[in-house]
Symmetry: C2
Subunit: 286 residues, 2 copies
């Protein structure tokens, strides 16, 4: 019997615990969110993050820049928040519109306030196996979901499809750190090789942005299948995994929506609280 990895329920459980912790705090954590441009999908994501933060008592400061802007305007805001003790966590919604260069912007975020765990320092710490101030939300959420369901990672063969800076690369690093043998495939891997290695995966993660790409022939019997895809097709959200085709073959599988997505948001809330606690620990060692 295939078990559906219920990211929504797991995320709610985590968020509810965070909410209880935040409730007890006199000074609430504050998350600064920057959105540039009017990408409809980004607007939905950001609004969802803001909504959940507010619901659980995390304060938000939302800065929405219009399409016509330079790197410097965003950087100015980041530097202001870096210095502002009342802002504990900073998030820049990606992707940024074409004229902006994300790496130069992201690296300006104080790593101690890096809600997404995307600064070079935090990514470096993650790769090296030392503690970053925050881990990227989607990879962190996937590992958490596996652990919540007691799915063993150590010694397993994990195949990660996709090598984005947001998911594929940091997730490969986290799986390796959890002692999986990690196979990272991408757009420059032949379809033949993608198929051949995917079929050997104990844990198969699809993060390539191609609707219904992974069908049953990619999946080994009883594999754990994680679908990171969020593809909008005819106003519907479609994953990278063809759920219907794969569901009976997998031992565990994440649905889309309701799988990885909610875990990502839960991890953002957790990162915000952790950054807050780390900053307050320094001010007051009690």
């Amino acid at each position: 019997m295939t078990i559906i990895l219920d990211g929504k329920k797991t995320a709610q459980k985590i968020i509810s615990k965070i909410s209880e912790e935040v409730f007890k705090l006199d000074v609430k954590p504050k998350l600064g969110v920057i959105l540039a441009g009017d990408n409809p999908a980004s607007l939905i994501y950001v609004n969802n993050k803001l909504k959940i933060a507010k619901e659980i008592g995390i304060e938000v400061d939302f800065k929405h820049f219009t399409q016509n802007l330079t790197n410097n305007e965003i950087i100015k805001k980041i530097l202001e928040w870096n210095k502002d003790d009342s802002v504990n966590a900073i998030l820049v919604q990606l992707p940024l519109p074409g004229i902006l260069y994300a790496p130069s912007i992201i690296e300006k975020i104080d790593s101690k306030k890096d809600a997404d765990g995307f600064t070079p320092y935090n990514i470096g710490q993650l790769i090296l196996g030392y503690k970053p101030y925050a881990e990227p939300c989607t990879p962190k959420g996937i590992i958490r979901l596996l652990k919540e369901y007691n799915i063993e990672i150590e010694g397993k063969i994990a195949v990660v499809l996709g090598r984005s800076n947001i998911v594929g690369k940091p997730l490969s690093a986290l799986l390796r750190q959890n002692n999986a043998a990690v196979i990272n495939l991408h757009s420059k891997t032949s379809e033949k090789n993608i198929l051949a290695f995917s079929k050997q995966a104990d844990i198969l993660v699809a993060a390539i942005g191609q609707p219904n790409y992974v069908t049953s022939e990619f999946v080994k019997d009883d594999a754990v299948v994680i679908d990171v895809g969020i593809n909008r097709v005819n106003n519907k959200i479609i994953g990278d995994v063809d759920f219907k085709s794969v569901v009976d073959k997998a031992s565990y599988i994440t649905p889309v929506p309701g799988g990885v997505g909610p875990m990502t948001i839960a991890m953002l809330m957790e990162n915000t609280l952790e950054l807050y606690k780390n900053q307050h620990k320094k001010i007051n060692p009690l």
Copy 2:
């Protein structure tokens, strides 16, 4: 016919070019080297690095700490060199004696002077696909050696045995960035899986510190075999690859010694010069 990847000759070619460049400079690059303790192998490595640096006109400042010391003594020296404009590159020889904690020391090096490319910032930039100030010498040297021999990486299946912060992890990232499908295996991978995946490798890299571990049964016909191992057995240097067993099966293979080792040192010299040039570019934009 198997081609021996001559790291010694390739490294000499690179070093000779660096030497010509350094010769023309009025102010010479300076490399600060820290060694802690009296590990005989480390002493040999450091002396070799110092010798080659001096030969090509790079100035060196060598600080040898005795075994009884704290993190802070080393960090004090690093901070001093960070501020000293005449020191362009800083290297802390690893491993450090047991009482010292390498991550806290390495991260104090100014990333702009990080000769080994080991700071979290530089590793983060490397992973993210952006330009670090310097790349780790051994992985950089391996990629360079492959390119000098026009060995294609894109689309190939690369298997990396070992996940050290010095070789396995950054090399996996560099191979991925060069568009290989990357399989990273390690001590928590079953021997059965190590064998099964190694046999599928177009490029097989052994960086596990186990003498003669890789024998012909691990190697696909015409694979490229890279041996990073430097194991001292009965006063002889033995690689991780059983050269005799593998040589006829591989298309290309590095010897030990004379393969990856010399390339590592050449890349250290290159990093030192590049850091120097980057620092001088800022002072004088011509």
